[in-house]
């Protein structure tokens, strides 16, 4: 008796949504970034679930690559946040509103 794939998909959807809401609601740049990572993980979960569903390893390979790229992305993103923080003295996303009307 294996767990149905749909369950994994629903869990993944919940996690993805929580990550999205986090991006919209939180003001700290770092926490927003963490929410994005949550989203990525939810997608990885979906990929691996489908890999089992269809009985090939493509999903796992994709998840693997996704992880790699996510790592690189985190590195660069954090470097940017650090540089921004150094320039402006704040990690609050709302303070970067120079393109306001």
């Amino acid at each position: 008796m294996k767990t149905p794939t749909e369950w994994y998909l629903i869990v993944s959807a919940l996690l993805f949504t929580i990550g999205t809401v986090g991006v919209l609601v939180r003001r700290n740049a770092l926490v927003i970034f963490m929410s994005i990572e949550l989203q990525l993980n939810a997608v990885n979960l979906t990929l691996v679930a489908f890999s089992r569903q269809w009985g090939n390893l493509v999903g796992q390979v994709l998840a693997f690559f996704s992880m790699t790229v996510a790592a690189a992305e985190v590195v660069v993103g954090l470097a940017i946040i650090v540089a921004l923080y150094r320039k402006r003295g704040t990690a609050n996303v709302d303070d970067a509103n120079l393109l306001r009307w």
Binding site: T20, L24, V25, R27, V93, N97, R100, W101
Partner: protein, 621 residues
């Protein structure tokens, strides 16, 4: 035949020379050049007359084609001059009277700083007038028509330093323009119907039944409008009294003898078309006689000696048009020629008076001048008697032939109107004569007779005035009528003798009335003027026609312009402003989308993504 083009071209050459090299001509030599040019034209015209006379009556026509002016598809117009009895008579009048006036001008304008230019303009005018009368097609006639209008403007405003002169020139041009526009439309209609503008072809086709009475009426009335403008008839007459701002010889030539008669020439020339419409003919006759009466009354109220003569011209030209409208072209032309003589004489005499009194034109400051200027007085009186219609002067024959034509045709209403006009002529001329030359002197200074160069033309004109009547002693058998084509009167017409007697009686009555009021000393006419100022004032203002135009068109135009400007400011500018304002309002609402905050942008992304996903999901169900 090769002579014909030279008639207009010699004055043109003089004009061009004087325009280009005016300053090189010292003293009065420019005047002598111009006079020689027009005298040469006169000589050529006489030669052409002789040539024509030698030809059989039915074929009296010479033409000379100079060059093909316009060829556009089927529309061709050539520069061709023709000489037939009508045009030769006109040409002789223009060049003959013109030569005398040129001679007079040499003395009158002596010392003027723009002496050569004056003669250049005068010569140019003669060229255009000759083009007008010698043209063989409507378009060339129109060229001359416009050209004389231009020269009239230049000459009326010759002393342009005076604002009144400049305004008078503009007024003349603009008012005649209205008539010119109507005339041009008439020409276009002629072409529409006949597909040619040459007189011969047009008049030949005018007789056909394909040319309806309606079309003829329209064209005739348009031509009448043009003639009314150029010949200063109601309602386009207001420019002529003001045109007296120009030098007196100009008034004599252009506004008495030649240009104002161009309208009469046009109507007489176009009679084959106009006769097709009896309604138009009657309209023309009525307009002529009504104008004549109106101008006669207005002349009684004038104090400026030249304005009396101006209204007199309007009145006499009205009688010419009256005669043309009755279908008696020879009477019209005879009056035209005779009028040229005596009106020019009257103007030159007036110029002599003005010159002698050092530019005084107000008749209230003249009086008793016959003692100081006897020669001028005699010349004037000859002209005055002629215009009043006293036999055996030319005016009697000419004017009364025109009026009698109505009676002979049995149109008694028009005949009586013509008699009224004649009576008024005698009254106002008598008044002017007695005010200026008789009674106690009211002038200042020592008036003297003009120089010989001015007296010679006056003398020649006086001679002509006395004897020009010989040209048309009888409307049916006189020289001029038979030359131009005499009308046929119905056999039950009253006898000419009776009609003429009535006219003479009226003329003497008019003169007697004027003598009684102004010359006899029995009436204190100075006091009467004050007492009857409420009558005199409207007459002097020409029954306020000109003032009405100024009010309706001038002030009315300014009012309309102000209204339009207000409309433009409030509505049109407001509309533009509204667009700008709406854009601004819209933009100020729309810009709130640009919050600059990443999180709102992220929310927008999410919204879009959710919508797309929903669309895909729903599509798959």
């Amino acid at each position: 035949m090769g002579l014909i083009p030279y008639v207009p071209l010699i004055p043109l050459a003089a004009a061009v020379i004087l325009l280009l090299t005016g300053k090189l001509w010292r003293g009065r030599s420019a005047g002598w050049l111009a006079t020689a040019a027009i005298a040469a034209s006169f000589a050529l015209a006489v030669a052409l007359l002789v040539k024509l006379d030698a030809m059989p009556a039915a074929h009296r026509e010479l033409a000379h084609h100079v060059y093909e002016w316009i060829t556009v598809g089927t529309f061709t117009v050539g520069v061709t001059f023709q000489a037939d009895p009508l045009s030769i008579v006109m040409a002789l009048t223009v060049t003959g009277i013109g030569s005398l006036i040129f001679l007079y001008s040499i003395g009158y304008m002596d010392g003027d700083e723009r002496f050569p230019r004056y003669f250049a303009y005068l010569s140019l005018f003669v060229f255009f007038m000759l083009t007008l009368v010698l043209a063989d097609n409507f378009l060339l006639l129109y060229v001359g028509w416009e050209g004389v209008g231009l020269c009239s403007y230049l000459l009326i405003g010759f002393w342009f330093e005076r604002a009144s002169a400049a305004n008078a020139a503009k007024k003349a041009f603009i008012v005649t323009r209205i008539g010119d526009a109507a005339f041009l439309i008439g020409i276009v209609l002629v072409w529409t119907h006949f597909h040619t503008l040459e007189f011969a072809a047009v008049f030949a086709g005018a007789g056909s039944t394909a040319f309806t009475t309606r079309s003829a009426t329209v064209i005739a009335l348009l031509f009448l409008a043009g003639a009314a403008g150029k010949s200063a008839q109601l309602p386009l007459h207001t420019w002529l009294p003001d045109a007296m701002e120009g030098p007196t010889p100009v008034s004599a030539l252009i506004h008495a003898a030649t240009m104002v008669t161009a309208g009469v020439y046009l109507i007489v020339r176009s009679l084959p078309i106009i006769e097709r419409s009896p309604d138009a003919m009657t309209t023309i006759a009525i307009l002529g006689v009504v104008t004549s009466i109106y101008a006669g009354f207005s002349a009684i109220g004038q104090d400026d000696i030249k304005r009396v003569l101006a209204y007199s011209t309007i009145s006499q030209v009205g009688l010419m048009i009256f005669a043309a409208g009755l279908g008696d072209p020879s009477a019209a032309i005879f009056l035209l020629v005779a009028h040229a003589f005596f009106k020019a004489l009257l103007f030159l005499s007036a110029g002599s008076v003005i010159h002698g009194l050092h530019d005084e034109q107000d008749m209230m400051r003249m009086g008793g001048l016959r003692k100081a200027m006897p020669f001028t007085a005699v010349a004037w009186i000859i002209g005055a008697l002629a215009i009043a219609g006293v036999p055996p002067l030319s005016g009697f024959f000419a004017k009364d032939e025109a009026v009698a034509a109505a009676g002979l045709l049995g149109r008694d209403g028009l005949w009586i109107c013509g008699l009224i006009a004649s009576f008024l002529t005698a009254v106002y001329m008598g008044r002017a004569t007695f005010m200026v030359f008789f009674g106690a002197p009211r002038y200042e200074g020592e008036p003297h007779e003009p120089a010989p160069v001015m007296r010679v033309p006056m003398g020649v004109l006086a001679f002509g005035t006395l004897f020009a009547g010989l040209l048309g002693v009888s409307p049916t058998t006189g020289i001029l009528p038979t030359y131009l084509g005499a009308p046929v009167f119905p056999s039950n017409a009253p006898s000419e003798f009776v009609l003429d007697t009535i006219a003479v009686v009226l003329a003497l009555l008019g003169l007697g009335l004027a003598w009684f009021a102004y010359g006899s000393g029995r009436i204190d006419w100075v006091a009467l003027r004050v007492r009857f100022a409420w009558v005199k004032r409207p007459l002097q203002r020409g029954l306020y026609v000109d003032d009405a135009y100024g009010l309706v068109l001038g002030d009315g135009g300014k009012l309309a312009a102000a209204a339009l400007a207000a409309f433009d400011r409030s509505w049109v500018d407001g509309l533009v402003g509204l667009v700008a304002h709406a854009t601004e309002s819209l933009a100020s609402v729309g810009r709130r989308l640009q919050t600059g905050l990443v999180r709102t942008y992220a929310a927008a992304f999410l919204l879009g993504a959710v919508c797309v996903l929903w669309f895909l999901v729903l599509r798959a169900t």
